[in-house]
Symmetry: C3
Subunit: 261 residues, 3 copies
Amino acid sequence: MEDKVMEKVMEEVMKKLGKETEAPAAAAKKISSAGITEFVGTAIGDTLGLVIANIDHTLHSFMKLDPKYKSIGIVGARTGAGPHVMAADEAVKATNTEIISIELPRDTKGGAGHGCLILFGAEDVSDARRAVEVCLKELDRTFGDVYANGAGHIELQYTARASYACNKAFGAPIGKAFGLIVGAPAAIGVITADTAIKAANVDIVGYASPSTTSYSNEAILFISGDSGAVRQSILAAKDVGVKLLEVLGNEAAPSVTTPYI
Amino acid sequence: MEDKVMEKVMEEVMKKLGKETEAPAAAAKKISSAGITEFVGTAIGDTLGLVIANIDHTLHSFMKLDPKYKSIGIVGARTGAGPHVMAADEAVKATNTEIISIELPRDTKGGAGHGCLILFGAEDVSDARRAVEVCLKELDRTFGDVYANGAGHIELQYTARASYACNKAFGAPIGKAFGLIVGAPAAIGVITADTAIKAANVDIVGYASPSTTSYSNEAILFISGDSGAVRQSILAAKDVGVKLLEVLGNEAAPSVTTPYI
Amino acid sequence: MEDKVMEKVMEEVMKKLGKETEAPAAAAKKISSAGITEFVGTAIGDTLGLVIANIDHTLHSFMKLDPKYKSIGIVGARTGAGPHVMAADEAVKATNTEIISIELPRDTKGGAGHGCLILFGAEDVSDARRAVEVCLKELDRTFGDVYANGAGHIELQYTARASYACNKAFGAPIGKAFGLIVGAPAAIGVITADTAIKAANVDIVGYASPSTTSYSNEAILFISGDSGAVRQSILAAKDVGVKLLEVLGNEAAPSVTTPYI
């Protein structure tokens, strides 16, 4: 077999492993005929949005849910946690729901990062469904500053006003500008963290490394502060991070969707 | 390279990644000439069965084994934990062995679930060997209700009478009908858990999510009760789970081997 | 598509997943034009070597670093932890640096083992850079006794005189001969551990299994003692381990680079 063909195959395989997804529209069509009432939609990153109108009350306690939430919204994915938490943050701002829990499995289908399982709580199912819909819709945006190749990924997230999802998952101060910078493999994340904190006058909210984040191969900096400074800090880190990632693997640009920061 | 070929390659790659294995017969033939006395056999899921007649007594304490077990049986795999625990459950029923430990690495070769490492203890090596043999043989059955595609998997397990392996790994009440329902990615597992518990009058033994199960991207419900109810509960969950999995990825049916539930 | 072609593709894919890397020379050339001062070099296993001359003092405390280290050296990889720790051990012997931290993400790009993140501390950036350079250079050697196929890997490491990296990561007694034996999937590691300890008169320093090592699918034995005995113990384990690995998958020999033990 020729090397050229082999190369092409490998490239496609790696791409698939990292970014495999299915057109949400097509998926929605399939499911509607299947008639599962819990289904809300799908999105990039093997993301699934679901809702349970009346979660069984015995399951409730095993899941350690507050009994006041009759309805739950569910957003889960194989690939991505940051994009989903940021999207969930918009969802709680826009709806009458609360974040019940955010869990980060070690996943990305052989990649260096996480998948996610996010639960929204609501007293009414229409609120839970609305939160999931907003979250799925936002994902196209929040995957905008994710750069990936076969060696790893750089992920940047920014919000002018952090809300409850960012607070729950990352300890972000509510109402303030907030950003996160992920570098994978983790060695890159150490450099992007240092670059970010030196680039502008921002506060460190937290720092995560493999042993503190589900054993993913990432180092992550969480920052807060003046919105201009947070953005400046993120963009400086991005430049360095993407360059280092491309030293290790193939081209990582363009980003997964359209950059928003 | 044409898209058609690419698609076919991707399909095969994904299949291999999830289900790669080798014909046990061929493997056994290879090994017998290698002459490793510890070898017992191989099975689906990159499963290896081994036995140590007289485990070194200093290693004994580092492995935190009860000194009364001179011989240990070993079953380990890259892909699968539920099938192996259920198979081990039959093995302890059928032999004079005990379950020493069950560990669940985060694996499945880039998939969403676990591999496993199961140790049987015995005073006599023939007992340990017999337990491993029974376990390997049962695996073909216990992989019978595993549905997988590139997006994740649904796994169902059932026994009319749980024994010590199910008790050790999952807290199953011994002697009662027991079942487990795995959904991956974990979002599907939340729905299958809720579906299962609503479908029949069963008791919840436990619920596991990524942060409580080696960071796999699974949510798992463990149930116990009347055998008809447990089966009914499992089958209801299967229907919904497989449909949701197929919304996210390609077809997940037929199951890995032949359904037994 | 013919089976032959498919087989070839699978083989290549598996190889790439396990051993993908890029020629360091080419990478270094790319980066030098990018002009990132933190870059030191790359190596096998998607390994990246970096240095920070003056790590930001606020980040310092979030990373829980001793404030006396102004400069840090960073070595991180997607594939491999043992080879990197052994290489780091030589680096601390050869330079005026200390090991700050060693973290083992669950990685190897869908394989059964770890990646790593190793931080060196130094008061002067030239020391940190030198440590990273030595570490990267040693990697070609320390990958010498790694045998891998699609089913898992066997890794052997040996040093005549353990230093601070081996002590920090594995509890090796400083100044004594030290070795480690990794078997993946973990079932193989149990056998190689037992084989090693029976093959020569060595002391067990530790034993690690999935639940004690970032949920990788490995069992690992750490041994210490007389240098001849440690080597003999390792080589005995290698023979059995590689044979078992080849029962489970395709050929695992030759090793990733050139054997040194």
